[in-house]
Amino acid sequence: MNYPLYVLVFPLAALGFMLFMRSRQKQQTAQFDQQYSNYRAGELGARLGLQLVKGDPTFNFMVTHANADVARGASDNKAVHIDIELSGQPFGVPLSLTYLNRQERETGFSTTTYKTWFDCRMAATAKQAFPPFEVTSRRTPMGAIVKQQTLPERPTGNPAVDAEFSVTTQEPALAQLLGEVLPEFVALGSAGVHLVGDGQRVSFIMNQTTAPIVASALYHAEVLSHGLSNLARRLGG
């Protein structure tokens, strides 16, 4: 049978191009992983004065797809499960950075279901319990920040802070204290700020797809660790 030459050449060229692009993508990922190696769990922990308690020390918060499991994605037989915990007391109060990303996949006859669990936060624990509060940036390039508590908004007494953040709490004195502490968090800029005080811990919440995104927020990891520790100290003595 006589087929035109392009019947053979085009599929081979397409296959070759696909393999080349995959190889190039892998190279680029490895390059980024190296470039941002100071955001690998082990190295970030050393920078912040935290110990790796749980998880893979080579997991890179800035280049998550450098991790083989994340790059491959969830399959019906194998879930993606990344669980990292760093903890320490770099500024005299217990501070931790936790990252949980689990994705399961179920392929049905006509639908594919992905179940996702995601929680990433840097948290400082106060010595004494304090009233709950929540702080969110009023504007971020990624849209509104999802609030986790049902508290009323209060003025902090600091117009610059009130213009930048929405502060919600039942306690006027706590709002005032936040007005004094929050200027430190302005350094996070467009990354966005989402602080939740649950009564004992102050957490900076980070997300996968909405502000504050993990990579953008952890770019300011030092500011975060100091700011959270300072806030926990002011709240709990």
Binding site: Q128, A129, F130, P131, P132, A144, V146, K147, Q148, Q149, T150, P152, Q170, E171, P172, A173, L174, L177, G199, Q200, T210, R234, L235, G236, G237
Partner: protein
């Protein structure tokens, strides 16, 4: 039957529906509805020669199919969810339902992605075993976060060092 009204506290937000995932339903439904009078009045070369009974049947079929497609779409479009500190009010085309925070057992946030568009669903499971699906609401993630906040407020972990307020507005920073 609505549950007994409770004081739901301050309103936290109002969430309206979006067109996400129902655009094609409205389009196809609209075409069917427009096809009904076109069939009935015998528009087009074929229509003019068809007997009236045949045109009436076709018009009826088109109208029913159009209504079947448009009704769920309009039901979704005409919904508003108002969230309060201790419950929510869900207004729909065919009535209003009040759900108290204390009655909610579980909430699930589902993102549907398909060829016909993507939309978000909030699945509420109540303690009496009933389930409600709120489909196509804008900012569904915030709605889910508030429902989860109700659960956290009611569930104080055993042994947790909870904050004991001296009085409303009575908290002072340590050392002051």
């Amino acid at each position: 039957m609505h549950p007994a009204p409770v004081e739901m506290g301050h309103k936290l937000g109002t969430y309206r529906s979006s067109f996400a995932g129902i655009g094609w339903t409205i389009y196809v439904g609209g075409v069917f509805v427009l096809a009904a009078p076109a069939n009935l009045f015998g528009m087009g070369a074929q229509g003019k020669v068809s007997p009236f009974s045949e045109r009436l049947t076709m018009a009826g079929i088109c109208l029913v199919l159009g209504a079947l497609l448009l009704l769920p779409a309009f039901m979704r479009m005409k919904q508003v969810v108002e969230v309060f500190e201790r419950g929510l009010v869900w207004q729909r085309l065919l009535g209003t339902r009040t759900i108290n925070a204390a009655d909610v057992q579980n909430v699930k946030h589902v993102q549907h992605t398909g060829r016909n568009g993507s939309y978000e669903e909030v699945e509420l499971a109540l303690k009496d075993g009933s389930n409600y699906s709120i489909n196509g609401i804008k900012q569904a993630d915030q709605l889910v976060a508030y429902v989860r906040a109700w659960g956290r407020a009611s569930a104080v972990p055993v042994g947790a060092p909870a904050y004991a307020a001296p009085a409303a507005g009575g908290w002072r920073p340590p050392g002051t």
